[in-house]
Amino acid sequence: MKHGKWPLIVTFLVPPVLLYVVFVVSPYLQAFQISTTDWLGYSADANPVGLANFKALWHDDYVWNALKNNAILLALVPVLTIVLGLFFATMLALGGRKGRAGVTGVRGGALYRTVYFFPQVLSVVIIALLWKEVYHPNKGLLTASLHGLGLPAPTWLGDPATAFWCVLAVMVWSNVGFYVVLFGAAMSAVPKEIYEAVLLDGASRFTTLRRVTLPLLWDTVQVAWVYLAIFALDGFILVQLMTNGGPNFSTDVIGVRMYDTAFGSETKFGYASAIGVVMFFLTLSVAVLSLRVGRRDRIEYS
């Protein structure tokens, strides 16, 4: 061991770890403790109630309704985002190969990439407000275009039949750009020779994507999957700003339920913490499961 290594490690490692423990780990542990009390949040009085909050959660229809919505998001948002992201990234990296000898992207790929990435630059709050205006039932872009074509338009965020899908569409829209860039970066690391070989063998674009690109990008896709799954279990900011869970709880998600229980219509911090604890375990299991299920042999080519 080189002389003077320990002071370096101590200086650079201990303060951040300490900060992490104080500001991230300890609130989590406290959340577990608070979830077993009836704390109402505005005095120091809290009585331990054991698992009563969790028992109440089990019978809370609104929580189940929110969880159901999260489950739908979990099933759709990652799949749609990854499929669209892969599609666009492929087009940008390999789409323009027809009629040429080499493997290139479509014309103007850099511009497309910037445009796709644009939502990522905006704050989520701005995205929510922007789309709220797009969904404006009288003068919004969407409604106006449909009316312009002589088609009827629903009231989007005002109708339980459409509101949820409107929010889901914004979630996918705001995420795709990032994954286009992520997958694009991963694709550029794949040696061109592989594609040229596939091209010579006369494989179709879809086959190339399915049999060559996807396996080579598997690790990146898996990471995208975990992130998107966490996002789908949260989804709080967009929902809260666009619909606040309405109409008639049709867009409610578990994060909004927790916020509403703590700061919104009630001040039940014990109960809200119990919701938080449930969220924690759900997110944890989803992430662990998707990492385990998706495990494959890594392909080394460098």
Partner: protein
């Protein structure tokens, strides 16, 4: 370890940082009740009935919303005029709950809190934790500048009851708000329409308005509870104030009472006959109010804050006017003029404030005639102080509010279930109204859903219940 491993590990670390579970706890825990901290108390005298310690500092936290904070600074100046040695610490925030929650837990809250806005602290929570000081002493104290009257004598009817929980006056609601149906006087004069006083005439007028190419109604579809106000008001005018007390006291089937049923049936007409501006269910309150200001709809249900909220988009000469809900018929227990008037904009003195007497004295300053007039002049809103608008020039809409309140007089009514059980109005009745006014459910189902919400609150043992007398 290659690039992908790093990505994968950072994903796992992201897990611990992403969901918000820890944030709740991070907000506020620890601390404890500190009973040993010094509180400021002075000696009571005729000139100082609340026993203010004259050099004790006073801390005031104001909600920085539509009223701004200038009015509060003026009140503070009036306070220091009387107690020049007192140092006042003033601050304004839009996030009352998040800013003050740790201080409540810690037992060191400020002396005066304007608990308002979207980040307001739920009063049921505060009251059930005994976190607010009793203002009874303030009511009994003599008024600051109206000789021979106590503070209570100078207040408008209903001002005390709306801030009372189980008979204790805890919350000073400083502004006086009327809730009714708004229309543009200019539009109505131009078209030679007249506001209808009975429901049948209202429906006939709606037909006329629709024939003229204007939608008779619009409402805040994303906050549909705004429409619960005219429905309940109609029911109270039909059945008397006991309709409201039954709802406030969570009596079984209060929402399904005969007057509520008749009222819901009546209001269903505007849905059935398509008298509502298309797309309204998808509008939020600002969007629907703006559509109304642009003349796309004739009527909207709102409180008397509407005029100042719409100040920037109201065309000149629009002349917005408030009117009571139409009477259902000759069987109504209250006259047509009766309108819902209630005190709003809540102020409180935390029970653990160090300068409770100073807080009460600050309220006495606010409730003086001078303090109230200054407020009305600065923010164009009425206060709970009776007659404080004398000699103050009011904008058009607010003038109509004063007139409507005068005409309503002792017939004015109000309900408070929304203060007792915020969740019931904000979540449950809200959702039911959305379904009802977009036409997805009928009146019977609407009341059924409201009742189900009220029952769920009644059965929830973790929510403190309040009762009020008729």
């Amino acid at each position: 370890m290659n690039r992908r491993d790093i990505l994968r590990r950072s994903a796992a670390a992201g897990l611990l940082a992403t969901p918000a579970a820890g944030l709740l706890a991070g907000c506020a825990t620890g601390g404890g009740d500190k009973d040993d901290t010094e509180t400021y108390k002075g000696t009571k005298s005729a000139d100082n009935p609340l026993g203010v310690k004259e050099d004790a500092p006073l801390e005031v936290v104001i909600f920085g919303g539509g009223f701004g904070e200038e009015y509060a600074k003026a009140h503070e100046a009036m306070y220091t005029e009387k107690y020049p040695k007192a140092k006042i610490k003033h601050s304004a925030t839009q996030e009352i709950s998040k800013t003050l929650q740790p201080r409540f837990v810690d037992g060191t809250p400020p002396d005066v809190v304007n608990n308002s806005g979207a980040g307001q602290i739920d009063f049921n929570g505060l009251v059930s934790q005994n976190a607010i000081a009793d203002l009874g002493e303030l009511l009994a104290a003599p008024s600051l500048d109206v000789p021979g009257k106590t503070v209570k004598d100078t207040l408008l009817p209903g001002a005390v009851e709306v801030g009372s929980y189980d008979g204790k006056f805890l919350v000073l609601n400083y502004t006086y708000t009327a809730y009714g149906i708004w229309y543009s006087d200019k539009l109505f004069t131009e078209r030679k329409w007249e506001y209808a006083k009975t429901w049948d005439d209202h429906i006939a007028l709606c037909k006329q308005i629709k024939a003229a190419g204007i939608a008779p109604w619009t409402y805040a579809g994303l906050h549909p509870r705004y429409m619960s106000w005219p429905v309940i008001a109609t029911a109270i005018k039909l059945g008397g104030p006991s309709v409201a007390t039954a709802i406030d006291n969570l009596e079984p089937n209060a929402w399904k009472s005969e007057p509520m049923r008749t009222a819901a049936d009546a209001w269903h007409q505007i849905v059935k006959d398509k008298f509502i501006l298309e797309g309204s269910p998808g509008l939020d309150h600002k969007q629907s109010q703006t559509a109304w200001c642009q003349g796309k709809a004739a009527f909207i249900s709102c409180g008397s804050w509407l005029e100042s909220e719409q100040k920037d988009v109201t065309p000149a000469g629009f002349n917005m006017t408030i009117a009571p809900t139409p009477s259902l018929g000759s069987g109504d227990k209250l006259p047509y003029e009766a309108i819902r008037g209630t005190a709003g904009e809540p102020f409180m003195v935390p029970a653990k404030a160090r300068n409770v007497a100073g807080g009460l004295e600050y309220f006495r300053t606010m409730l003086s005639r001078k303090g109230a007039q200054d407020f009305t002049k600065k923010v164009a809103s009425l206060t709970v102080v009776a007659g404080a608008t004398e000699g103050v020039e009011l904008p058009y809409g607010l003038t109509s509010v004063v007139k409507a309140l005068d005409a309503s007089g002792a017939n004015g009514f109000n309900w408070v279930y929304n203060n007792y059980y915020r969740k019931l109005e904000r979540n449950l009745v809200d959702a039911a109204c959305g379904e009802f006014f977009s036409g997805r459910i009928g009146p019977a189902e609407f009341l059924e859903q409201c009742q189900k919400g009220a029952d769920s609150i009644a059965q929830d043992s973790s929510i403190k219940k309040y009762k009020r007398a008729a």
